[in-house]
């Protein structure tokens, strides 16, 4: 038996046979074709048609957004411009494999040059190229294996297009060789509550069909397990399932300290699921869905209806609604139609609302009306606040509209640093860790090439959170976290140790966080937080926190 270590995601445990994601085939060599032009052309034509048909077929099978991705890939395979480019190479005497390889690579480069955000399309295109080449060679296409029974997927790393195709019924656990706690794989696993360990460098040794135990709590893959270990793992898995199925209790630490667990929602549609999974309210309700498909802001009446639908699902519970957060990755022409060189640093969030006060006033009016008609405890907050003045203005405006509790999001380092001056002037703070990390690390959260910097475990981010937590305690005002960080069970404990009172996350993550909180007292949470704070790097912070947590 041996142990391979990596970074565990969530608290799951799973056992099963390994199925490896096939590595990409070696690039074809540039040899002169031995076939006639007609024969090569015919081969490519058949391979392309077969790949397009298979992609369409899989698209029909999975449905949803994955269907669009797959159908777009099928279109890429049959693209007329690409066909011309392949044909030109065949005429020059290249093999079908090499012509496809080169023509696709050329287009891939064009897409990549257009900027980081088209990178995903570029990797879609590579995937299509590999499929066509595999088909020409008569070998199976690379990608997610389908052994026909439950399995543990071992991959170098997973691309978004791969994860779209994952059959969550069959995949018992994910092991990736690359990737960190904020990789696409980790986020997917957290959102869907899949057992996963990322960054397992030695996973390359695992062979097809071999039995393993994947223990995310320990961050360890156990190979050649004994019968005893297997049955132990199996009973832990069953216990965890029973735990998840048991009636949910309010979020609390081992000593009974209450830590309300709330849901992040993007539309009123998700409310039923959130309530079922034990959300004690809503910590972040994003209102962008009302505005994104519109050429002009929706009317007060339209907005009131949506807010009311949301509030009705949470009678007597806290619901925190965020004012429209437009700009950067979600531009709206009626708010700001000026092109910006750096949209993440531009007229966005509260800045855009203050420049279009009528839109903010309409939203606050609609919220106040919805509050009148329902029983929920409505809180409102402003996105992307940078200064104490902005916080004061928003808080005053919300109160003028009859909203009792108004606060701000802490996403910009400047306001986190000013937390002691901020807290007495507003009712609460909610830390958006995704943006706070992006702005602290100066790393675009949408850009894959700087993704390693987008890690909320970084002590620089934790120190800012500590300042906000301390200001909350001094002023007696609540501080929450809504962001990816709250969904990471161990980091959730650290946040509580830093003075955070409530945690808000994707509803699927609630069970794991609830279970981890129950293991530690407030004193232990504080020392786990201290261990993370005194580290020099994000990786060391996680490691120190894990060691401190195992002691408690």
């Amino acid at each position: 038996m041996s142990e391979l270590s990596g970074i565990g995601v969530g608290r799951g445990i799973a056992t099963g046979p390994v199925a490896r994601m096939s590595p990409p085939p070696p690039a074809p060599e540039d040899q002169p074709s031995e076939l006639s032009l007609e024969d090569e052309t015919q081969r490519v034509k058949e391979a392309v048609a077969a790949v397009a048909a298979e992609l369409d077929e899989r698209g029909r099978a999975v449905g949803g957004t994955a269907k669009d991705v797959l159908e777009a890939q099928a279109m890429m395979a049959q693209d007329p411009t690409l066909e011309e480019s392949v044909q030109a190479r065949l005429k020059a005497g290249k093999t079908g494999e090499f012509a496809v390889y080169e023509a696709f690579a050329e287009f891939r480069e064009t897409l990549e040059q257009l900027g980081g955000y088209l990178g995903e399309r570029a990797s879609d295109l590579s995937d299509v190229a590999q499929r066509v080449i595999a088909s020409l060679r008569g070998v199976p296409a690379p990608g997610i294996p389908d052994p026909g029974h439950p399995f543990i997927l071992v991959a170098e790393d997973l691309a978004p297009a791969d994860t779209a195709l994952l059959d969550l019924e069959k995949v018992q656990a994910l092991i990736t060789i690359q990737g960190g706690p904020t990789s696409h794989t980790a986020i997917l696993a957290r959102e869907n509550s899949i057992t996963a360990i990322v960054g397992v460098a030695d996973a390359a040794e695992l062979t097809e069909g071999e039995q393993v135990i994947v223990d995310a709590v320990a961050g360890t893959v156990f190979t050649e397990p004994t019968e005893e270990q297997l049955s132990d793992a199996e009973s832990r898995r069953a216990a965890r399932e029973a735990e998840a199925a048991a009636p949910v209790t309010p979020g609390a630490l081992a000593d009974g300290t209450s830590v309300p667990l709330l849901a992040n929602l993007g539309s009123p549609k998700g409310t039923a699921e959130a309530v079922e999974l034990g959300a004690e309210g809503v910590g972040l309700f994003r209102t962008e869905f009302l505005f994104l498909s519109a050429d002009e802001a929706p009317s007060v009446e339209q907005q009131r209806e949506s807010y009311q639908q949301l509030l009705e699902a949470f009678p007597g519970k806290k619901v925190v609604v965020r004012a429209l957060d437009a700009g950067a990755d979600k531009p709206l022409s009626f708010l700001n139609d000026q092109p910006e060189e750096n949209p993440a640093l531009g007229l966005r969030g509260l800045r855009a609302l203050m420049a279009n006060e009528a839109i903010l006033k309409d939203q606050l009016t609609a919220l106040a009306q919805a509050q009148e008609n329902t029983e929920a405890d409505l809180w409102v907050m402003a996105p992307m606040v940078s200064t104490v003045e902005e916080a004061e203005q928003f808080t005053a405006l919300a109160k003028e509209h009859g909203l009792a509790t108004a606060g701000v999001m802490v996403e910009v380092p400047s306001i986190a640093l000013m937390a002691d001056e901020l807290m007495p002037r507003t009712d609460f703070a909610s830390i958006g860790t995704n943006d706070l990390t992006q702005y602290t690390m100066a790393a675009d959260r949408l850009l894959g090439s700087v993704a390693t910097l987008q890690d909320p475990w970084h002590p620089a981010v934790l120190r800012l959170i500590r300042q906000v937590g301390a200001a909350g305690i001094d002023s007696g005002k609540p501080v929450g976290v809504c962001g990816e960080a709250a969904a990471d069970p161990l980091l959730a404990v650290v946040l509580v140790g830093l003075g955070v009172n409530t945690l808000s996350m994707a509803p699927a993550a609630l069970a794991d966080v609830r279970a981890e909180l129950k293991l530690h007292t407030i004193e232990e949470a504080k020392s786990i937080a201290e261990a993370a704070l005194t580290a020099a790097t994000a990786a060391q912070a996680r490691e120190s926190a894990l060691k401190a947590a195992q002691r408690s």
Binding site: D68, R121, S293
Partner: protein
């Protein structure tokens, strides 16, 4: 003979991802040959890679050119398509 039309793109994600795919499907099913141009660069509207490579953003002006049967009708339907926001709220 050919017909042309200048259209401002309304989809909030421009012509990336899903809207690009839907636009190319619409162009492929048109009776005439269509090109789409942004600035100096002009591509075959039936080519998803061509359309993606234009990097069309919301608010960009594009020039559509149709040649063949039912030119005006083709341009009408593609213009309507481009003026609609196809990005679902998320």
């Amino acid at each position: 003979m050919s017909s042309t039309r200048t259209v401002t793109v309304a989809s909030s994600q421009g012509l990336h991802a899903r809207p690009a795919k839907l636009f190319v499907e619409a162009a492929q099913s048109a009776g005439s040959d269509v090109t789409i141009a942004k600035g100096e660069k002009s591509v075959n509207a039936a080519s998803i890679l061509g359309v993606l490579s234009l990097g069309v953003e919301k608010g960009d002006e594009v020039l559509l050119t149709a040649e063949g049967e039912n030119e005006e009708q083709t341009l009408d339907s593609l213009e309507t398509f481009l003026k609609t926001d196809h990005d679902e709220a998320s």
